[in-house]
């Protein structure tokens, strides 16, 4: 078993080497003539306006949290699936209870519309677009 993970370690090292070599070759043979305009970020030809490191929609964070919870659930499913054939009905009932509790959670998130990407009747922002309402997309 050590040997197999040792092989993985060899693969990691070789992978790093395989990524590093092209980077080095590129560094050696590619030209480098920097100018101010070249180093600007792309913004449809205009000069870049401010920094891109701004706050974004909290919904990404919520999705990541829900994902984390279900990921933990999947982790429990793996050992369960491995021993399932030996434990049979007992394992089915145990996992049934576990999953039903979590499916209740999924249903809760679903009903609370946290899985909907476009929320209805939310103001579209401020200023010029204040009165524009999101069209119904779901």
């Amino acid at each position: 078993m050590y040997r197999d993970f040792g092989t993985v370690l060899v693969a990691v090292i070789l992978g790093i080497v395989m990524v590093a070599i092209p980077l080095l070759i590129q560094k050696l043979i590619a030209p480098s003539k920097k100018s101010k305009d070249k180093l600007q970020t792309y913004e449809c030809g205009e000069e870049a306006e401010g920094s891109a490191w701004l706050q974004f929609n909290i919904r990404f964070y919520v999705i990541a949290l829900i994902f984390l919870i279900f990921d933990v659930e999947i982790v429990f499913l793996f050992p369960w699936a491995v021993v399932f054939k030996e434990l049979g009905l007992l394992a089915l009932i145990e996992m049934g209870i576990f999953l039903i509790i979590l499916i209740a959670g999924l249903a809760y998130v679903w009903v609370k519309a946290d899985l909907d990407w476009v929320k209805r009747n939310v103001r579209y922002g401020t200023g010029r677009y204040q009165d524009v309402r999101m069209e119904k997309t779901t």
Binding site: V10, Y42, A52, F56
Partner: protein, 344 residues
């Protein structure tokens, strides 16, 4: 530690890496030729016979181009991001068995780089690492398009990872092992012992999730040209840009190989017992693996020119409201069936 064993390991790792890179080149060529064929064009046909040397010309050109790091970017992470994406993509193939055992120098050599006993979880874990490459590429560029593309793409990846994991669980229910070798062995025999016939729903879920995980066309939201320019790799140029593409194609190759391993019997050629045929059986099994994998690689291109792109809310809806419940339902059905069969 014996030297021969170490050399065999080294050779296997190198062969698999080289084969993956070669397939990446072939895929880049085929993608353009097949796309052209589907659209009634010719595609690249000038460099070498039938344009076969085009990907090599592309590679040289990528190397010769100036590498630009935007002035406001976070340089170390900007360089690190494509490497984080590419290294796991190359490493995943290490656990996939691509042929029956071969006997050389008086010892039995399994045609698999590393027979890790938690094989399928190793694949899933490496897949989940790929998210970093995308998030960090998007963040470090300090470009609005990159950040939006990176965020969208990472949210997409994590959403479909769940469905993928749950589809895999139903396969493990059948095989009772996390080892990819055992999963392949479980499907040996006649044609209908392949998992695709036992688990059609899991197969469909897995296939859709794979397309989302590899950012391929119905799900290539992160690089939706019309709204996000190039997505998370908008600011990348030269060899680093090429690395994103290499990682995408390497992921496609692994995904195709994994689909074959989990659902189409791996290297199994139906109705033939490969291990009894000696070297001929090994050749047969490797050929059958490559053939099946080739079909799924072709399917990637085929699907690209068949389906339109999803809208982002549709993508999330499909992932969370269709795929996730269906995958859970499939696990219940499978477990219930197995229990009933054991009791009767």
């Amino acid at each position: 530690m014996d030297l021969l064993g170490f050399i065999i390991i080294l050779v296997k790792v190198l062969v698999v890496f080289a084969a993956t890179m070669l397939t990446v080149l072939v895929m880049i060529y085929l993608e353009r030729r097949v796309s052209a064929f589907m659209q009634g064009r010719l595609g690249p046909n000038r460099v070498g016979p039938q344009g076969l040397l085009q990907p090599i010309a592309d590679g040289i050109k990528f190397m010769m181009k100036e590498d630009i790091v935007p002035a406001g970017a976070d340089k170390p992470i900007f360089i690190l991001a494509p490497a984080i994406l590419l290294i796991p993509a190359l490493m995943t193939f290490a656990v996939i068995p691509f042929g029956s055992d071969i006997t050389l120098f008086g010892r039995q050599i399994p045609l698999q780089v590393a027979d890790v006993n938690v094989g399928i979880l190793y694949v899933l874990a490496l897949t989940s690492i790929g998210v970093y490459g995308i998030v960090l590429a998007g963040w470090s560029s300090n470009s609005k398009y990159s950040l939006l593309g990176g965020l969208r793409s990472s949210a997409q990846l994590i959403s479909y990872e769940l469905a993928m994991g749950l589809a895999v669980v139903s396969i493990i229910l059948l095989s009772g092992s996390l080892k990819l070798n055992d999963i392949v062995a479980d499907q040996q025999g006649y044609l209908f012992s392949w998992n695709v016939f036992k688990q059609p729903l899991a197969f469909i879920i897995f296939l859709v999730a794979v397309y989302a995980e590899t950012n391929r066309l119905p799900f290539d939201l992160s690089e939706a040209e019309q709204e996000l320019v190039g997505g998370y790799h908008t600011e990348y140029s030269s060899i680093k840009f090429a690395m994103f593409f290499m990682a995408e194609y390497a992921n496609m190759i692994t995904a195709a190989a994994l689909t074959v391993t989990l659902f189409f019997g791996g290297w199994d050629f139906p109705l033939v017992d490969e291990s009894s045929l000696g070297i001929l059986g090994t050749v047969l099994s490797v050929c059958s693996f490559i053939l099946k994998m080739g079909f799924f690689l072709f399917l990637f291109i085929w699907v690209r020119w068949t389906f339109p792109r999803f809208r982002y809310d549709q993508l999330m809806k499909l992932g969370w409201k269709v795929m996730l419940p269906l995958a859970l339902f499939n696990i219940f059905i499978t477990a219930g069936y197995l229990t009933v069969r054991a009791l009767v």
